[in-house]
């Protein structure tokens, strides 16, 4: 048996096809979800893909957070539905208050697209179980508003609870506080990060590495073994 993993398309979502491909490559069944639809089609997990939902107007992720599909996702995420937010998806998760903090424009004020080295800080989430804590991976990074910020108190809390899931290594590409590239909620089912694991699942394309496939095999194993 396999698991059904949904990928949401908002107007302006760009990496939905890549995410569907990553889900398929990992061996799970990809399911397209539409922003106007409250129905999640009985998926076992959801990926919020990168892009510029609603043109990033107002603020990245700010409008998507109020879409019909997000109503259901927010409700079910609180009940344990695994959700991965990549880039714009991470921004939506913070706007939806499923994850703390928020993203500001990169400190150098440019869009940046590069291969980025990360350290996976915890394997204790639904999306990182196939990695070992401390493992270094390289996956693409591409964004305009990628600078993670939160209050000191929140940052301390994230660190203390082991909820900083990924940290930038070598170069902090956008001025994120404490080199934070991604975080998880306390339960470990909701994970958000700025870099793009879905662009690193086959050796032929992108940067030629498959370091991102672990996100999708992690969730598949968890769901199948549940």
């Amino acid at each position: 048996m396999t698991a059904r993993i949904g990928v949401v398309t908002f107007p302006g979502t760009l990496d939905d096809k890549d995410s569907l491909r990553a889900v398929r490559t990992a061996g799970a069944e990809p399911v397209s979800l539409w922003h106007r639809d409250k129905d999640l089609k009985q998926v076992d997990a959801v990926v919020l893909a990168g892009g510029f939902s609603y043109g990033d107007y107002l603020r990245a992720g700010a409008i998507a957070r109020f879409s019909p599909v997000m109503e259901t996702i927010i409700e079910q995420a609180k009940a344990g539905l695994p959700v991965l937010g990549i880039c714009n998806g991470f921004q939506i998760l913070t706007e939806a208050h499923l994850l703390p903090g928020g993203m500001l424009q990169n400190n150098h004020l440019h869009f940046i697209c590069r291969e980025q080295k990360l350290r996976v800080e915890t394997s204790g989430t639904a999306w990182t179980a196939d990695y070992t804590a401390g493992q270094e991976i390289r996956i693409p990074l591409k964004n305009m508003d990628g600078r993670y910020v939160a209050e000191e108190r929140v940052l301390d809390e994230l660190e203390a609870e082991g909820r900083v899931a990924f940290r930038y290594l070598d170069v902090n590409p956008n001025g994120s506080l404490r080199d934070i590239a991604g975080i998880t909620n306390a339960a470990g089912n909701v994970v958000g990060l700025m870099p793009h694991p879905e662009h690193a699942v086959e050796p032929l394309v992108g940067t030629g590495r498959t370091d991102g496939l672990g996100f999708f095999t992690s969730i598949l194993k968890k769901l199948v073994n549940a």
């Binding site: 096809k17 869009f111 879905e198």
Partner: protein, 749 residues
């Protein structure tokens, strides 16, 4: 103000009209009156003025562009040729590819961000209008001197605009060029290319047929932006004292365009359109007249039904508006409802604004009153044609006599080493990653190769690994020395780049950037370059599928270098066989393919070391280019080479430096017998590439080159962490990297 109806025009033949302000010449205005048998209405005058502008009508270039249709090589791949929004070629397995390069030069000088952004938006809609899903973009760019203060204004804006728009569309940016030269000061060239993929049966053409079919305008609302952009911007030379022209530049909304793309593709999938055209230069004037002209009958449009952003716009302004992100479709009546449903799904506004008639006129009404009644062909396809005078410039001989081969050369190995470092760190030869890292090259997950590779390559079928590649090239310095040869060198380099990536070159698109056609010197350059390109394409077997001409790229009396930019499209059956530029495997042997002559005219070395431009450009041998291409493709397919890099500006040392830095490995080079080390390193002879050959393949590779008559010289080995030219000098990779990568951030970050 009273509405200038057709009736009113007939009654007031002597009314003064602003034809001059709209960019028309006196005889052109007279011709319009002759065609109509009366004075044009204000709306008609607006339409003719934009459609007869240089940008839309190709009136100065047409007589020369004809050659691309006359000197056509036998090529089975060609499905749709010149004249449509973009040409289409067959790439096998039932797939067709459409591609085109266009200019957005003048707007990008005035307002760099929006000018460049809407350049991307326009070319993407052109590709979409052919029925294809856009899959990648490329951007050939030219700027003034890298250290000029105005370049600091223009370049960051252009780059941010291309990124800001393209990144939002979800299209990987896979290639292009960045060139700096004083001649582009005040006239930057912002060219944009796009590749689209479709199945053969999905090709759509821009024509309106079938009386009763509805004309549907969909996409963004029409606003006051870009009014007169075509005639004012593209057809006049900038004068520094002129009035501000900022409002004539369009403003882009990539989010709207992304919705338009997805919406249009869904409409194509359900086969809901009989004809389609994007709205670009000249807006509705262009779309309605071109659709009607190419179709079988007439068209009637109710202009007051056009959704507006600004309700105060006059009918003339609505016709001329270049508001972005709009398309015009011809839809059979029983398919209109479904068409509207799909638009609603994507939050795209769609409006029936008219219908195809069985008449022969394009008729436009404003609140029931007729304001346009014209034969559409006279607007769209039968504009003026000029046989502009041209003559070889008086200065051409002196320029060619100023031989670069006689310039002072490095006196010893130390100077040679210094000049290498100076070359690889010069703005034109330095790493462009500060620019290209602002573009998303990963999106869609099909990017196999992207800059700084020789060609960009995307996979178009995940099951079979079929892919397409594209490179763009154009060396204005070569073309200035000899436009005929320069155009062929642009073609040859682009062809070579595609072949070096492992793909088979199929066809080309061109963007011809020149100065004022009213200057006989410039017109001679244009005539020579087009002749060279047409002859070259015939010889290489790569037809011209379409492209764009940008004239009036000059400030005052000074024109830019003639800059024909050539985009070659190639196909590769299996993208896993692609050849990267990186030297990544120690111990592999480096072979130089082709002949090296003493050719420094127009070279990067002559520019960087001496600030010199003179002499003759490198000689072109297109049969040799073809042979080199075949060898590169065979070697890639059969696994005989692991890396290849074409040699062009900067010569061998530039190529080896880039390949070493890309792979993180050094190289030991040996100067071949009989060759001067300086010429070996810096000559820019065409028809050459350097390849990395696994030792186990050396014999087979040599045999192949020998059997087919391509000179292949072993020039070194991939080894260590420095580039060593034996008996001359060595430079650590770290030093080369620092020199190569620091320049652009130092100038623009």
């Amino acid at each position: 103000m009273t509405l200038d109806t057709v009736k009113h025009a007939g009654e007031t033949p002597e009314a003064e009209q602003p034809w001059k302000e709209l960019g028309l010449k006196e005889d052109e205005y007279a011709r319009i009156r002759e065609i109509l048998g009366r004075r044009p209405t204000g709306a008609e005058l607006a339409m003719y003025s934009v459609m007869w502008s240089e940008h839309c009508s190709y009136k100065s270039s047409k007589v020369h562009l004809k050659q691309f249709g006359e000197k056509v090589p036998v090529n089975d791949a060609m499905l749709v040729g010149i004249g449509e929004n973009a040409g289409v070629v067959d790439v096998g397995q039932g797939y067709a590819v459409t591609f085109k390069v266009e200019s957005h030069n003048h707007p990008s000088y005035i307002e760099p961000y929006q000018g460049a952004a809407t350049g991307v938006g326009g070319i993407v809609r052109d590709i979409l209008a052919m029925g294809a899903r856009p899959v990648a973009v490329v951007d050939p760019l030219r700027f003034g001197a890298a250290d000029h203060p105005d370049t600091r204004r223009v370049l960051p804006g252009v780059v941010a605009g291309i990124g800001g728009y393209g990144n939002c569309l979800g299209l990987p940016n896979i290639g292009g060029e960045v060139v700096f030269d004083d001649c582009y000061q005040g006239n930057p060239l912002v060219n944009a290319g796009c590749i689209g993929v479709m199945k053969h049966e999905d090709i759509h053409l821009a024509k309106a047929s079938g009386p009763g079919n509805k004309v549907v305008l969909y996409g963004a609302r029409t606003g006051g932006d870009g009014i007169g952009g075509v005639s004012v911007l593209a057809s006049e030379t900038f004068e520094s004292t002129g009035p501000a022209k900022r409002p004539a530049v369009q403003v882009g909304d990539p989010f709207q365009e992304k919705l338009l793309i997805e919406c249009t593709l869904e409409i194509f999938r359900e086969q809901l359109v009989a004809g389609i055209q994007d709205l670009g230069g000249a807006g509705l004037s262009c779309a309605t007249s071109e659709l009607a002209s190419a179709g079988s009958g007439g068209m009637r449009v109710e202009l007051d039904t056009v959704p507006l952003r600004d309700s105060s716009l006059s009918p003339e302004e609505i016709l001329m508006s270049e508001s972005q992100e709009r398309m015009c479709a011809i839809v059979e009546p029983d398919k209109v409802d479904r068409f509207m449903e799909i638009c609603e799904k994507w939050d795209v506004i769609a409006t029936v604004i008219g219908e195809v008639t069985d008449g022969s006129q394009l008729e436009i009404f404003w609140h029931g009153e007729q304001i346009v009644d014209v034969p559409p062909r006279t607007v769209a396809h039968e504009g003026p044609v000029y046989n502009r005078p041209y003559a070889r410039p008086a200065w051409q001989d002196a320029l060619q006599a100023d031989d670069a081969n006689k310039l002072a050369r490095p006196a010893n190995a130390t100077e040679l080493r210094e000049q290498v470092l100076k070359l690889v760190s010069s703005p034109n030869q330095a790493s462009k990653s500060w620019i290209t890292d602002q573009y998303d090259r990963f999106v869609q997950g099909n990017t196999v190769l992207a800059m700084p590779e020789d060609a960009g390559m995307v996979r178009i079928d995940e099951k079979t690994n079929l892919g397409v590649a594209m490179a763009t090239d154009g060396n204005g310095r070569y073309a200035k020395l000899d436009p005929y040869t320069g155009a062929q060198l642009a073609l040859a380099e682009s062809y070579r780049n595609v072949a070096a990536s492992g793909a088979k070159p199929l066809a080309i698109s061109d963007c011809l950037n020149f100065g004022s056609p009213e200057d006989p010197d410039v017109m001679w350059q244009f005539a020579e370059a087009t002749r060279g390109l047409a002859d070259g394409c015939l010889q290489l077997g790569t037809p011209v599928t379409g492209g764009n001409v940008s004239l009036y790229n000059q400030t005052g009396e000074t024109a830019i270098h003639p800059t024909p930019v050539v985009a070659v499209l190639g196909v590769i059956d299996d993208v896993t066989r692609r050849t990267p530029v990186a030297f990544a495997e120690e111990g592999q042997l480096l072979y130089l393919l082709g002949d090296t002559h003493e050719e420094l005219g127009g070279s990067a070395w002559s520019q960087v070391i001496h600030g010199h431009l003179g002499g003759m450009p490198p000689k072109v041998d297109l049969d040799r280019e073809k042979l080199l291409g075949e060898i590169l493709i065979s070697a890639s397919r059969d696994g005989m080479i692991d890396a290849a890099h074409d040699l062009s500006d900067g010569g061998l040392i530039q190529a080896v430096t880039e390949s070493c830095l890309r792979g993180g490995k050094g190289a030991r080079l040996v100067v071949p017998d009989g060759l001067d080390p300086f010429v070996f390193l810096f000559s820019e002879s065409a028809g050459r590439a350097v390849v990395s050959v696994p030792r186990s393949e050396e014999l087979r590779f040599n045999d192949m080159c020998g059997a087919r008559g391509l000179p292949a010289t072993r020039v070194g080995v991939v080894d260590g962490d420095e580039i060593e030219v034996q008996g001359q000098f060595s430079i650590p990779l770290s030093e080369l990297r620092a020199a190569h990568e620091a320049t652009l951030p130092g100038l623009f970050a």
